[in-house]
């Protein structure tokens, strides 16, 4: 039994060979296994042509009864990508040796590779009856149940596989299941155990770092991503994630240095160009930022984050028509994000379309529940339109959100935003003061009231201009932080290769001008 277990860890042909001679050493059939050693030798040397020749010869001599030759031929077919032929040969092996679990495992594996997961689970269950302590069967059953969307069964099988033998693949599969179910905490637990078991696996480290990044635990995320980059300095996903964290902290030059490595290896990566663009934005090189973001948008036209960033940069450059275009496109792809509507409203305000700007703000306030900047900008717009009561209501709503954020997170607010809020508060209170002093009827007090009224009137136009400018300015400034956050969210798009790649190329028709005939 120990010998059988030891055989399980070696290569499949070796394990098969170690079993077959023992069970078939009866002197009645020596001819059947005469060339097995040569087939095995060619196979492990990857000399597939010679291996096929020997297999053909052997099968002719034995009239197709040499199970090992058929088995190896099936393995070679699989390596060449001919899964269907491989499946047929493995089924022949299963007919020749009905009690051998390896043949059933290979049949199930072929069915799995062909995408027939239900049939694969049935065959794996048959194989499990023959060999109950095989971690591979449990693991592969878990994978098949994952494809069939039966996540509970999949988890049970994968946990059984882990109890029998621990492997990275099983941990990765379990983590994927939890992610598919949206259970981030359990996924992190699984990946933690996986990292303890296999500390040098860069894929596990990167995935764990990305998960911590999504939860906002930056310290641990940075640790794990740093470890991943220590073992694999050119890891594409880890570099993007680490770079986005550096962007969040304002280290744009360091992030750009890191991105240079990826730019040489993968020049057509939309998340890369998006992050590079936001680095330039952070360094206030807006034209370079626009170039990089446009390239990212060219390569990934369906990504709303890139369009969001393009709109933000164009707002900063005061190109409001272009900003409106990009933000409108982003809203088409992501219609449930309040910040997009807020930025759209800022663009519309500067395009002097107040009615549509108001509608956009209403939508932004309806969708967004935690961003005080939305209410602040809306209040500024209302104040500039002379609607003090509505502005005051929005201001109070903003104060609620600010207090909520102060209680829940140590996030520090942008100084421009604070200043803008204070100015707006002062302007609104002056209005209140005016209302408060009206009932007094004393002649001496009347004079003071007049004086106060003049002061308020003087403040209003000045505040109006400053308020308008600073509303846009504070929106842009606050976007610096949020743009870092957007950069931080970009580690999700590194999964972009898994999505079907849209046609990135724009086929401009060639300009077909008739050639003039040359005269000699």
């Amino acid at each position: 039994m120990a010998e059988v277990k030891l055989g399980m860890k070696t290569q499949v042909p070796a394990s098969v060979e170690s079993q077959k001679p023992r069970s078939k050493k009866a002197p009645d059939f020596p001819i059947v296994e005469k060339q097995n050693w040569l087939i095995h030798l060619h196979y492990i040397r990857k000399d597939y042509e010679a291996c096929k020749a020997v297999i053909k010869e052997q099968l002719q001599e034995t009239q197709g009864l040499c199970e090992y030759a058929i088995y190896v031929q099936a393995l070679i077919f699989r390596l060449e990508g001919n899964i269907q032929e491989s499946l047929e040969l493995f089924q022949t092996c299963a007919v020749l040796s009905p009690q051998c679990a390896d043949n059933l495992k290979q049949v199930a594996r072929s069915l799995f590779l062909l995408g027939k997961h239900k049939a694969a689970t049935e065959v794996y269950n048959e194989a499990a009856k023959l060999n109950q302590k095989d971690w591979e069967i449990c693991h592969n059953l878990g994978v098949c149940y994952t494809y069939l969307k039966q996540f509970n069964k999949a988890q049970d099988q994968l946990h059984s596989a882990l109890q029998l033998n621990k492997h990275d693949l099983t941990y990765i599969m379990l983590g994927k299941i939890h992610l598919l179910q949206g259970d981030l905490d359990k996924a992190i637990e699984i990946y933690k155990k996986a990292v303890e078991f296999s500390p040098e696996n860069t894929e596990l480290l990167t995935t764990l770092g990305l998960l911590y990044l999504q939860l906002g635990v930056y310290q641990k995320a940075f640790e794990h991503l740093g470890n991943a980059l220590t073992y694999d300095p050119a890891n594409y996903k880890a570099i993007l994630a680490a770079g986005s964290m550096m962007q969040t902290h304002g280290d744009f030059d360091v992030a750009l240095t890191k991105y240079r490595v990826v730019a040489c290896a993968i020049p057509e990566s939309p998340p890369l160009w998006n992050n590079i663009g936001m680095c330039f934005f952070g360094k206030k090189k807006y034209v370079a930022a626009i170039s990089c973001l446009k390239r990212a948008n060219y390569l990934a036209p369906f990504d709303w984050k890139i369009l969001y960033n393009l709109g933000l940069v164009h707002l900063t450059m005061q190109q409001y028509a272009s900003a409106f275009h990009f933000l409108s496109a982003a809203i088409n792809f992501q219609p449930k994000m309040g910040e997009l509507y807020m930025l759209l409203a800022v663009a519309l305000t500067n395009l002097e379309d107040i009615e549509n700007a108001r509608r956009a703000y209403v939508e932004a306030v309806r969708l967004d529940k935690c961003n005080p900047l939305v209410n602040l900008n809306y209040a500024v717009l209302l104040y500039n339109q002379g609607e003090k009561k509505s502005a005051l209501a929005q201001y109070q709503e903003m104060e609620k959100k600010v207090n909520f954020l102060k209680d829940n997170s140590p996030l520090e607010f942008d100084s421009e935003m604070v200043e803008m809020a204070q100015k707006l508060g002062a302007a609104l209170q002056v209005g209140e003061a005016l209302v408060w002093t009206k009932p007094v009827k004393d002649p001496k007090t009347k004079h003071r009231t007049n004086s106060g009224s003049k002061s308020a009137t003087l403040q209003q136009p000045l505040g109006s201009i400053q308020a308008l400018g600073q509303a846009m300015s504070s929106a842009a400034a606050y976007r610096k932080i949020l743009s870092g956050a957007v950069g931080a969210q970009l580690p999700k798009p590194p999964s972009l290769p898994l999505e079907p790649e849209p046609e990135p190329t724009v086929e401009a028709s060639p300009t077909e001008a008739s050639e003039q005939k040359k005269e000699k």
Binding site: K105, K294, N332
Partner: protein, 515 residues
């Protein structure tokens, strides 16, 4: 009688104004008065002049300048024995365009045609052809700008042109070739040259033309470069390229002419020696500095070798010499568009518009440049104009396809869907539209429809990596790893540097290698 104009003078006037039929008719009248109507009388100069003029007029009716018309048929390509190196080194052949990607954007940014070359700004017959590996691929690739059918052989085209001569003379052919005494004419250089051009272009009898030219050059003791060029042209027409090369080289030693350089370069291109052709052009530029046709020849060869940056440089040189060169403007504009500079490309296309180029392709390109340069007011107007100017279904399909990209750019997926559908209505073989429709279906979650569309796109355009990669990704997602692997391998063949494809193949091989 004194008030009438001299008939010969009137015939010359018709000839110079390119009214060749009137010129030929008038010469016929003059020759009818001569007792020798089948050959000019030796003692009558007016008769000889009329005879020569008629021959030249008939030739000009069907004349084709062969410098730029170079359409290889399937027979010439498949049975090509002229290329010397069967496995040429990279950068020295036009056969392997895929491995010579230097200086330009990759396939992910600039799409390629069936022949494996990046899309160019100017459509020429020779740029459509590559060296297809299989007969199916050769038949699938259209060869000319005006038809979707391949040319079976280039010699067939010349045979058809000769049928026009039967209609010009109701009294029979002007010259009865079978009864012609070539030796006698070869000793009269003025008559011989006109007769040669008549035989070669009007009668399409290459062999007889070659005989006349050989006798004439022999009579002139091999000192007339013109006859050597004509012999070279005959050899080229007959497919004897090495002999043609000798004749052109000998002519160049005696007298360097731009046309001779161009003809010799054509021979080298047929022999698949682009580097030699480039050296020849540069040698010609030493003699004729700033010659536009030579500069343009260099730019074309660099473009066919996929060296976009060098081609763009030489096109700029062309524009310095001749700033109304349509081909150079279009190629440079297209280069700028695919190098993330739509604003600069827009200026080039606007220049073409000012020059009077007014066709569907130009407005299509203007619309794309306006959109990507964020000049939104002109975009839809340009596309409307392009649609109204489309001359056939393929052009309309291309315009709708590009409109689909505009719709994707503004986030209107419904409009994009309709545009791609309309592209398929106009051209049911538009592989790019199939691919993009599949992507839109995937975004809606319609996996089976997306797979069917991707399979159609893959079969229609094996040279595009996008349908193969998308199909591989979708198959991998639903677990069909065999089809995913096969499709990923095709994607790798089409675009070897695609990192996502390499990653996917590695992943699939791990699946196959482990139990």
């Amino acid at each position: 009688m004194g008030s009438e104009m001299e008939p010969l003078l009137r015939a010359w006037s018709y000839f110079r104004r390119r009214k060749f039929q009137l010129c030929a008719d008038l010469c016929t009248q003059m020759l009818e008065k001569s007792p020798y109507d089948q050959e000019p009388a030796p003692d009558l100069p007016v008769s000889q002049a009329a005879w020569i003029l008629k021959a030249r007029a008939l030739t000009e009716m069907v004349y084709i300048d062969e410098i730029d018309v170079d359409q290889e048929g399937i027979a010439e390509m498949i049975l090509d024995e002229n290329a010397i190196a069967q496995v040429p080194r990279p950068g020295t052949s036009l056969k392997l365009p895929g491995t010579n990607q230097t200086g330009g954007p990759t396939q992910a940014v600039r799409p390629i045609t069936q022949a494996g070359r990046p899309i160019t700004g100017f459509l020429r017959p020779s740029t459509q052809s590559g060296r297809p590996g299989t007969m199916e691929q050769a038949i699938r690739t259209p060869r000319t700008a005006y038809t979707a059918r391949p040319i079976t052989s280039s010699s067939g085209r010349f045979v058809r042109l000769g049928t026009a001569s039967m209609l010009t003379s109701p009294d029979g052919p002007f010259i009865n070739l079978s009864r012609l005494n070539l030796t006698k004419y070869s000793q009269k250089p003025k008559l011989a040259k006109a007769l040669f051009e008549y035989i070669l272009h009007h009668e399409n009898d290459v062999k007889m033309a070659l005989d006349l030219a050989s006798l004439s050059t022999e009579y002139s003791q091999y000192k007339d470069w013109w006859w050597k060029v004509q012999i070279g042209k005959c050899y080229y027409r007959l497919g004897m390229y090495r002999e043609a090369e000798k004749q052109f080289k000998s002519a160049l030693k005696q007298q360097e002419m731009v046309d001779t350089f161009l003809y010799l370069a054509k021979v080298y291109i047929i022999l698949d020696q682009p580097v030699t052709a480039l050296n020849l052009f540069k040698q010609g530029l030493d003699k004729f500095p700033g010659e536009v046709t030579l500069l343009c020849g260099i730019a074309r060869i660099y473009e066919e070798m996929n060296n976009s940056s060098s081609a763009a440089e030489y096109y700029k040189e062309v524009l310095k010499q001749d700033n109304t060169h349509v081909e150079a403007i279009a190629c440079i504009g297209s280069n700028h568009f695919y190098s993330d500079q739509p604003e600069v490309a827009l200026r080039f296309y606007r220049r073409l518009l000012q020059m009077g180029v007014y066709n569907c392709q130009l407005f299509n390109n203007l619309g794309l440049c306006c959109f990507y340069a964020q000049q939104y007011d002109m975009t839809l107007t340009s596309f409307e104009r392009a649609l109204s100017l489309a001359e056939n279904e393929e052009e309309a399909a291309d315009v709708w396809y590009n409109l689909g990209h505009i719709a994707v750019g503004i986030g209107d997926t419904n409009l994009a869907h309709q545009c791609f559908r309309l592209a398929l209505v106009h051209n049911n073989h538009h592989a790019e539209a199939y691919n993009n429709l599949a992507v839109l279906e995937m975004r809606k979650g319609h996996v089976e429809q997306a797979r069917a569309l991707l399979q159609t796109a893959s079969s229609l355009a094996p040279h595009m990596y996008e349908p193969h990669f998308n199909f591989a990704t979708v198959s991998d997602k639903i677990g069909d790893l065999q089809r995913s692997y096969v499709a990923a391998q095709k994607s790798e063949v089409a675009f070897p540097e695609h990192v996502d494809t390499q990653h996917l193949i590695k992943q699939l091989k791990q699946h196959f290698a482990m139990l």
